[in-house]
Symmetry: C2
Subunit: 241 residues, 2 copies
Amino acid sequence: MQIRSFDEGTLCAACPAFEFNVCRGVGQVAKECSLTALPQPSEHTILPRRLICRECDLLEVIPIICHGWAASTVTLSDGRRQILSFLLPGDVVSAVLIFEPVIQCSVEAITEVNYRTFKRTEVKALLFKNPDLFSKLSRVWIEEKARVDQLAVDLGRRAADERIARLILNLSDRLARRSLVRDQMMDFPLRQHHIADATGLTVVHVSKVLSEFRRAGLVEINERSLTISDLTGLRCIANMR
Amino acid sequence: MQIRSFDEGTLCAACPAFEFNVCRGVGQVAKECSLTALPQPSEHTILPRRLICRECDLLEVIPIICHGWAASTVTLSDGRRQILSFLLPGDVVSAVLIFEPVIQCSVEAITEVNYRTFKRTEVKALLFKNPDLFSKLSRVWIEEKARVDQLAVDLGRRAADERIARLILNLSDRLARRSLVRDQMMDFPLRQHHIADATGLTVVHVSKVLSEFRRAGLVEINERSLTISDLTGLRCIANMR
DNA sequence: CGTGAGCTTGACTTGTTTCAACCAACGTGG
DNA sequence: CCACGTTGGTTGAAACAAGTCAAGCTCACG
């Protein structure tokens, strides 16, 4: 299964921001989302572990992921790292960039990542002319905020197994909305250290919990792909306990 | 020291959202922020521990705190609670409400709270006519997001004493911007359970850490007020370790 | 063939929670 | 007036979840 990429039609419906990606070259979609006014976005490809941008960078541009996974991260002076969100195909790197040129966290490619960038000034101008686009982008923005809120609750008040179970379920949901899940099986390029950094745990502990999940028949992980074998069980761990 | 209220001129400068509060009745400020088009906001006062709104409420209105402290909280089914932010005089309850009527967390008064509400439709309409107001509100929105991001990092990657030190310093900064700090002394209506819920710790542990801080001569807390006696020391604990 | 990144496992340590008891302040109602 | 419950804070002992350290394994890569 190699569906780390995007299915344009579906994504456009599931993920408002993605309209940016397809606003050129895909006639049908372009008409729908009235973004044809934007000039051709510039396209970039970067290797795993490389940075798309780094903390405090001045970006005159809004990057949107087209292909691959990335993570937005914050690193403390002593090396501790927190991943604030995983970016999937169709995600805006950060909706904040629409109004503010300086980004507060680094964005690192997990897989090979292909992304396109739009000039902020142009997007902003278009935004005011087009209330439909405006409401779509504000939804993106609101969802982004809701996810960090949720993350804070998870990190503040949930145990290790809950956090990991929820991470898996969240990713699975987001991938499913992009039609990137088939039979509970999905592409899963995360290393355990990504999971650790996203859940505020250590790699060692993540390994132990994941082994436990596997032993309990909840998930199977191999070859950069993950299958949820016991959805109910996983949900159960994720919600309560 | 009883400065839990606001100094209108200062707040208006320090805190864009506060202009909403003063847009009526304060001629000078009203002219500056061109919000006179908005009808008189409705005013409310509620007692400590009461809710301003609850999770999933449908709010056709945007509340802004004028006086007192509140907290926006999320509560899990088993009673675990996480405070996502403390709301001080001049704060919008949640910038999300400008575009989205349903609020994702409860907002609870800590002290007696006085707040005013503005109809979302009216604010929204005004927003499009007034790019200056727009950019001010987007700054509020961005700051709100930055704070949750920071919270997530703290909860994910920092130890108990760091979290508590940072909470105190953050509040002190925000109060200082509102001229509510004199000689490192500020009104501090938080109970230890608020600190616990904000830092993802237990009340017992908060008590221990705070006692430690007091013993080390970092802070003094009494009678609902807090003094930072050793700013450098506190900063040191907050940043590194 | 060596090197480095990633994963697993076990033994041990530590930070935080849990449980419990106790005290102080406060308001309420008899 | 006292008795009482409630809320908030403190402290200590024991339990536990997660971290640290360390060793060993696989795999990919040059």
